[in-house]
Symmetry: C2
Subunit: 520 residues, 2 copies
Amino acid sequence: MPEGKESKLAQIEQHISANLADFLSQHVVAKATSLEQIEQHFSDFRVPEQPDFVSSHAEVLLDKLVAHSVNTYSPTFIGHMTSALPYFQLPLAKLLVGLNQNLVKIETSKAFTPLERQVLGMVHELIYAESEDFYQHYLHSAGHSLGAFCSGGTIANITALWVARNKALQPCGEFLGVATDGLAAGLIEYGYRNLGVLCSKRGHYSIGKAVDVLGLGRRNMLMLDCPDQTLSPEQALAAGKAYQEKGNKLLAIIGIAGTTETGHIDPLDELADVAAELGCHFHVDAAWGGATLFSKSHRALMRGIERADSVTIDAHKQMYVPMGAGMVLFKNPQDANAVRHHAQYILREGSKDLGATTLEGSRNGMAMMVHASLHILGRQGYELLIDQNIAKARQFAEMIAKHPDFELITAPVLSLMTYRIHPRKLQGQLASGQMSPQHQIHYNGLLDQLTVSVQKLQREAGKSFVSRTRLEISRYQEGPINVFRVVMANPLTQLSDLEAILEEQLKIAENTEFWAELTQ
Amino acid sequence: MPEGKESKLAQIEQHISANLADFLSQHVVAKATSLEQIEQHFSDFRVPEQPDFVSSHAEVLLDKLVAHSVNTYSPTFIGHMTSALPYFQLPLAKLLVGLNQNLVKIETSKAFTPLERQVLGMVHELIYAESEDFYQHYLHSAGHSLGAFCSGGTIANITALWVARNKALQPCGEFLGVATDGLAAGLIEYGYRNLGVLCSKRGHYSIGKAVDVLGLGRRNMLMLDCPDQTLSPEQALAAGKAYQEKGNKLLAIIGIAGTTETGHIDPLDELADVAAELGCHFHVDAAWGGATLFSKSHRALMRGIERADSVTIDAHKQMYVPMGAGMVLFKNPQDANAVRHHAQYILREGSKDLGATTLEGSRNGMAMMVHASLHILGRQGYELLIDQNIAKARQFAEMIAKHPDFELITAPVLSLMTYRIHPRKLQGQLASGQMSPQHQIHYNGLLDQLTVSVQKLQREAGKSFVSRTRLEISRYQEGPINVFRVVMANPLTQLSDLEAILEEQLKIAENTEFWAELTQ
């Protein structure tokens, strides 16, 4: 029984529906509260004995949770990959929960199963552009799969490498395959000391999780230096060969299409050549950058992605869908069969149950959100968003490059960039290369502290937010440096917001102890 | 910019909010449409070029998707574990998407991080009932974790076994642990031929996925026969010893607290003894049954769960939260450190970022739904739901047992049961044991076909739904039989609904070819 129109929860809902930005700016407290203070509100560890009124719990949610959540809609919060969503996602969220389907099998999802397959087909076509016959044959084929939906890019990357591992150690003679006989037996059967995965140091942390979970061991994760932020095909080939000469087998090369930290795209086409030469699986982690394929002007950046055996794309990043919509696509519709599994009461053989080839079991119908976005925005709508983000990132980069007290560290390839505050007095000296290594280390150390301090104070002030990371870059050979990281994803962000952010950062910086030391 | 109040999507939303049951009964088409017909609506494989109006897409969603989805709210759909949800989950779903937090780290989730930790603490306390000091120390401790939220029970089970594997092959001398050095090196280091997992044949299919993904191999999944639907501690001990005598190491015993197929609970306390004797991890898969702990009358069924090293619970099952809310809890707050990982820009060492010990990366704030349910329903509210479900299941079981043309196969321990149609004429003969094995096989074969046929026709008629599975049971030694499976989870289901279901099934059965053959 719904509460009345005037109940607290109903009021919250009406406010969200009428004007989400206004709801958030009214209820999300701008000033930072310490985590320890927030934890006080969530310190009770016993399930409450008595039921509570919905309205009084709604008050608690507003005061304790919403007030201290992150305003991802704010145009000045440009540090992360989540941003404002199209408004139609709000009522769809309600429909999703109202229907509460379970996508693991058709019996609990019905039309959601073909819908999800269609979405996977559309994204597959966007990447691989196979023939009409291909899609007519495979889109709804019980024994095939164009990909898998999952909660996010991490599960997508793990799924891709799981498939690659099971294909590399597939059944052969009396060996029933790694899925049945296990990894150790598989290595012996095929005569491999180890299975390894190769990517650049900008590879996502989920790769490390994958090699751990899959039993390969992080020692077999070959993460190559990339002072220019992309993986060198020559070095990849050399490292792969050297690895294999020691009796190991390189399982997969991972090309990144939009690194999490700088947005760079690895030379995918050249890496596909390397993978072909080494005879290994080629996976592309396009969790962030995949949506660039919607843009006619920028999709050339992704050249070679169509040669990948598998591709990860997160719809909850640049496809503007709520959190929880990852996808992995397979070039070969047979590949997912390397991880196919059955059960008596579910996923029966020959069924079209999606759960038969996914890492997750029960899953919600998030594909509906992606389906809606693909139709309501269309390719052209996405193109507009992508093009605008990249254009805005370039404008911001120019703004930074021109500013005497800022230093652009990595220029935007997609809509990410990194930079730092660097007092004009020092810039010439440090960048000229005339400074001694010891001095360079000293000053970069101070600049590192300045960056951390400004980022933290800026976040605590609550007006704006950029993130930070630590990068090796070719310009400074003495070691990695701290940088601000900006993700241009929010369509509401204006150039004036960006100007204000630089101004605010500089003001904060000037009041730190480090500034005085750097400019004395 | 929200569409006007009269737009199609706004109308849908208002209808859902005002009366979800009415919305579903108006829009979900009762009569079954073939999957092939539904697939026609989702056969376009190209991303639409042009944007579409929200309202026209809403029409498409209603006609093509909602119409052919599963009405999980219907009181006569008693075949699955998803059912009607409390209405307050609907506006919360909108709030969740409106806030769109990412729980992987504090920077993108703020108060959601302590909230999720609190929910994990509450469920931990429900299971383990540790001291006040314990929770004050560990609830928000950066270096510890009482458990992990995840998309569902499959990921929870995989996480538990991942932790168990990494603990069993932990760093030792020059060996840096399985996470770093890999599984094959770990087996050699510890002198194990294989690592195995033991459970009954009622173990969830996710266990098979876990041993595949983790590299152990399905061959090392010891699934013991369980004609009485529960794992025998004696047989588990004997099988574990025999396995270890061959040079293997039993990694974990999995006790099931509410099997997916029949709702039976393994003898957890005795299995904890077996695990202690074998020196292995004890995991309890309480994805379905965990919520029984809320009930004072029934929680004794779970005796021994407090001795488990890890426990899986799905809040989207008997905790009445929308799909996508799994949890794994760890008795020892140190355990999750066996899978801890870090990255430069995220999950920094010493941070409280939840992503440092989860299998998934980016995740949504589903914990808010669980938090709300725990407070709004309270322990007493959950107790009422659990007790009612079990009482209703027992009443239905009695109804079946009394009916001359039905046969109760497994009586409800929790709120699940299985049964089949069995014409009265045959029941005496078959059950008496006086029938020859050949005849038994013949008649059970016909009954199997009858069950499949009735379940299918009933589903297609669209008025009601029970699921079906295939079970070994002690009464029929000649092999597994097909059964209807009922899950009593919907608070809206009345006894009269259940009577009508039996009546409908019998009527369908009488019109099949098998009925005639069985009763001639």
